[in-house]
Symmetry: C2
Subunit: 190 residues, 2 copies
Amino acid sequence: MSVDRKKLIIEAATKSFSLFGYKATTMDQVAKIANVGKGTIYTFYANKEELFKEIVDNMIVEMEKEANDAINPEQPFMENLHLTLYRLLEFRREHQLMIKLFQEEREIRTPAVLEIVEEIENAIISFIAEKINIAIQKKYIKDCDPELTAFLMLKMYITLIVDWERIRKPLSKEEIAELFDLYLFKGLSF
Amino acid sequence: MSVDRKKLIIEAATKSFSLFGYKATTMDQVAKIANVGKGTIYTFYANKEELFKEIVDNMIVEMEKEANDAINPEQPFMENLHLTLYRLLEFRREHQLMIKLFQEEREIRTPAVLEIVEEIENAIISFIAEKINIAIQKKYIKDCDPELTAFLMLKMYITLIVDWERIRKPLSKEEIAELFDLYLFKGLSF
DNA sequence: TAATGACCGATTTGTTCATTCGGTCATCAC
DNA sequence: GTGATGACCGAATGAACAAATCGGTCATTA
């Protein structure tokens, strides 16, 4: 059996998108890195965007795996939710491809990248919403719209970790856990 | 006494910035609208950015006045906080200059506009933080960092009103009030 | 027949030149 | 003499054109 060309292409594309982003990655370059003719890529993927989606979808699977690894079954639900959200934002801050994607979203606004970032966000929301849905059924938390709650929690974490750090001081993991618990779980009322 | 040239300039600049934004407003144009020589503008303001700041600072004062008008002393603190935040975001959505500013922030990223938008955000945060500070002292709510809490609340409102509407369905004023009360005041715990 | 890379039209990039703009200051009107 | 002005300046922007690059195709090849 000859070499697995599809695998070579996926590896090459992952490298290139991670290093240069979507726009700055050329199909010629991917072919070169993969040691494959350019035409070969088009026997597996209809176009550049399809190849891109495949790479990002793989990353999303990897991300969800990591998020699940963060869960500690002995901890209460809200603590695990915190650990999950925190791990997701760690991934977002450290994963090469993720970094490039968000940078390109901000700085170049490549349409294909805007689309894929929205897809990533949706994946995260679905992922969190599912956990919330279960928590509602098990009466761990009050009844609420799981999707909206997930959306709000994600935005809250981005606010606490990314935005607040930009204008004031960075918060530690423990501080964020406490704030999450105070604002969303216990509430500000006495 | 001759005409108040400074007032004419302020009125003209307000009109022009509101209609065309910062970048597309020229000093020649402001002078023309104000019926004033271009040099005259520079006897009051050191440069275009200073003039811009004056106009936006006036708008901030107007915005805070409107936000205060939204308060109903007979209502409980959290309801008034909701009314205030909602009014602030209404202002943001409806005020000509505000609309142009945020549009230019997103689409052109003019440095001077990025700066001023941050200034506006800081003004809102200080404004809300002050209310929260008083509420903490009066034991209306638990102890917390007023600035961080204000920041979080503002972001939460933007999430609920702007972001959620973009990806799903718009929420009514009452729904937002309920969500605000549920998530931040009562909390999700039983 | 799976793999390839020369080739194509479209888009992007680089370059040059003309225009516009923010800011100055010599002159003017009173 | 003083406050107001607009012609003028260099820098920045934009238009226009040429050159290079890129995504995608398909006749050829091994």
